[in-house]
Amino acid sequence: MSDAPKGLKSWLTTTDHKRIGLLYFWTALSFFLIGGLEALLIRAQLAQPDGHVVSAETYNQLFTMHGTTMVFLALMPLSASFFNYIVPLQIGARDVAFPRLNAFSYWVFLLGGLFLNASWLVGPLFHAGMLNVAPDGGWFGYANLTERQYSPGPNIDFWLLGLQILGISSLAAGFNFIVTILNLRAPGMKLMRLPTFTWMTLVTQFLIITAFPVITVGLVFLMFDRFFGAHFYVHEAGATPILWQHLFWLFGHPEVYILILPAMGIVSDVLPTFARKPLFGYTVVVYSGILIGFMGWGVWSHHMFSVGLGPIADSVFAATTMLIAVPTGVKIFNWIATLWGGAIRGTTALHFAVGFIAMFIIGGLSGVTHASPPADLQQTDTYYVVAHIHYVLFGGTILGLFAGIYYWWPKMTGRLLSEPLGKWHFWLQFLGMNLAFFPMHFIGLLGMPRRIYTYSADLGVSDLNLVSTVGAFLIAVAMLVFLYNIWRTRRHGQPASNDPWGGASLEWSIPSPPPVYNFSVIPTVTSRLPRWTTEHHGPMNDPPAVPPGPIHVPGGSWWPLVAAFGLPVMALAPLTHTLWVVFVGAALLLVGIYRWAFEPFEV
């Protein structure tokens, strides 16, 4: 009972949310490093004018795969690793609502990520060299560049099929976590007592299940255009490639909030713990998160100002875009007010959380400058936009996620990461990111377009580009420090108690790492800060170390893995133009689902 099963089989068949969380973490970290290597190659190419580290074709693949990898294979699944590991613990549950569906989500994510990245290596199978058939149409893959006529190779096929597979993973996880958070809460854990991270996770899942169908439809159209001669994005047939832009950004802007809301949730949990103060304006933080979720659906066309949508559409989307800065700004003031007057402990997690606030403000401010169409016309497709997206997604999401990693690492592994190394990591990364991304504002405004593999010395941006490259390599050094910290902590890290930080939420009431059943006794929650003493109540009693009676833990299952394999196999069919392969994939999926539905499995 208390001993977790060991061995490869126990991992392949696991349905334990904690193990799935760890699998998500290690897989996403690996993809994050691959995406980082791609970034380093891009920066090496741009270090000097007229660079020749890589060819134009390779460069196209590098920036496409860098963006796609970071958004879909690194940031989203790193957040998912915390959804998996932490959310059930924060709500006082023994697992998620659908443990096998959870395993299915992970395997689909892994296989989809491998499918996308296989494109680097399998060129020879398509009568091309290695490093020749990776996606090369940009991470938002604008039509009609992505049509067969203009992109005849399998590059875009890998991209659109890979993204379809990954979408299924996110959707399945979305349904699962909505039900988990709404339905599996411990007695007394009212909605307005949920920790902010869990709240932001809930909002994120609603965005996922509503936004992903839209990109799925956009990708299905592209698939029919490329494989079956349809004309969804073909101008000559009366269609408009702008349809793709609408469908993509209708998904793409909620996606921005899918990426940032979990990080905002993490920061809203980390700051109160290390300021020893409840979150300032918890209710406002929650409601502004929900408001961001709704408003995130009304701003997509600000990605399309340069299309020429007309003055009405431009004005409306400019107004909504400026408006959405309000709930975001509200949160920033809440975080600052949380720190104000607190008994602050300068841990690494707090460093990252405060760094998040500062960097996200810069990203947010440059974002507001895009909201004005005349200004945006100057910025579109320049490095200014690249600077903005990196301040938001690296300065915002990544710093927030690292705050979460340092904060929850002891809970997830039982050992504390080294604090001195952590601070080295933070300062190197903080310095590196500002060196890498701040000059991009100027590079862009001086007229350097993004996605062009080289530039002339006459443009006058050579020095700024070199600084940016130095910054990128500094980030790489910071990552090496982080990896060393992880490696060192395996053996030499200080063992963590149940609650190394003095946190208020339920995950700190149980051992680190938690036993398979999480809670020996399901706690009864009587306040929003159950483990703290406040004016109205004392701290809750932690669950006993030994469960009073036997606890049934569900066994593993092979079928989520089998079903997940069906999807990439089906995707191979159009890629290789072989019809029977699709039946093999469908059969795998069907057998997996049927065996899964009818096997005895107790939750």
Partner: protein, 194 residues
């Protein structure tokens, strides 16, 4: 099937699987919403024929629509029968629902074949693209529903489906009615309002 989940206490008092299905249906609304919007945006923009008014057969599709509506009635009856433990009629109604679903799919096969003979394929014009992908996606949903209903029917024949599984039948019904409602919108938008 996971019966244990139904037995557990849930915070909202709603069965886990049922809540997941409502979320799924919400998600599907965006899927069909995008497809139907695209159909409307591209309406009248085909540069060559056949055009919708030359080819759509409203009387034929009205029969299919009636057939699908009736299948929803069968589904209601099936659920009612299973809930009151009348498995004899439960089996009959489940099978009838699946059968009417199959008839609808047969109608779609006939319709698609006829259109192709009249020169409308996916690569002919924008009407062909949007029509086949929209109605084809709906047809795929019906096909999944038929497979699901037949599975339940076989389980019932084996004696493995009883009143204890009423929630499973109810969720199947949720899906089936949703697919039916989507068809009513498609029928109105594509066939009736030309």
């Amino acid at each position: 099937m996971t019966h244990a989940a139904t037995a557990h206490r849930t915070s909202m008092g709603l069965d886990n699987r049922k809540m997941a299905f409502w979320a799924f249906i919400g998600s599907e609304c965006l899927l069909f919403g995008s497809l139907i919007s695209t159909y409307l945006v591209y309406k009248g923009r085909s540069v060559v024929g056949p055009y919708p008014h030359e080819i759509l057969n409203i009387p034929f599709t009205s029969v299919s629509t009636f057939d699908l509506l009736m299948s929803s009635l069968m589904m209601v009856l099936a659920l009612a029968a299973v809930q009151r433990g009348d498995m004899k009629w439960g089996k009959i109604w489940l099978f009838s629902t699946a059968l009417l679903g199959l008839v609808f799919l047969g109608g779609q096969v006939i319709e698609f074949t006829e259109f192709v003979h009249k020169g409308l394929t996916m690569s002919t014009n924008l009407f062909g693209c949007t029509f086949f992908v929209l109605t084809g996606t709906h047809g795929a949903h019906v096909a999944v529903g038929v497979l699901w209903l037949l599975t339940l029917w076989v389980r019932a024949l084996q004696g493995k489906l009883g009143p204890a599984n009423a929630m499973t039948v109810e969720i199947t019904g949720l899906y089936w009615h949703f697919v039916d409602v989507v068809w009513i919108i498609i029928f109105t938008v594509v066939y009736l309002i030309q």
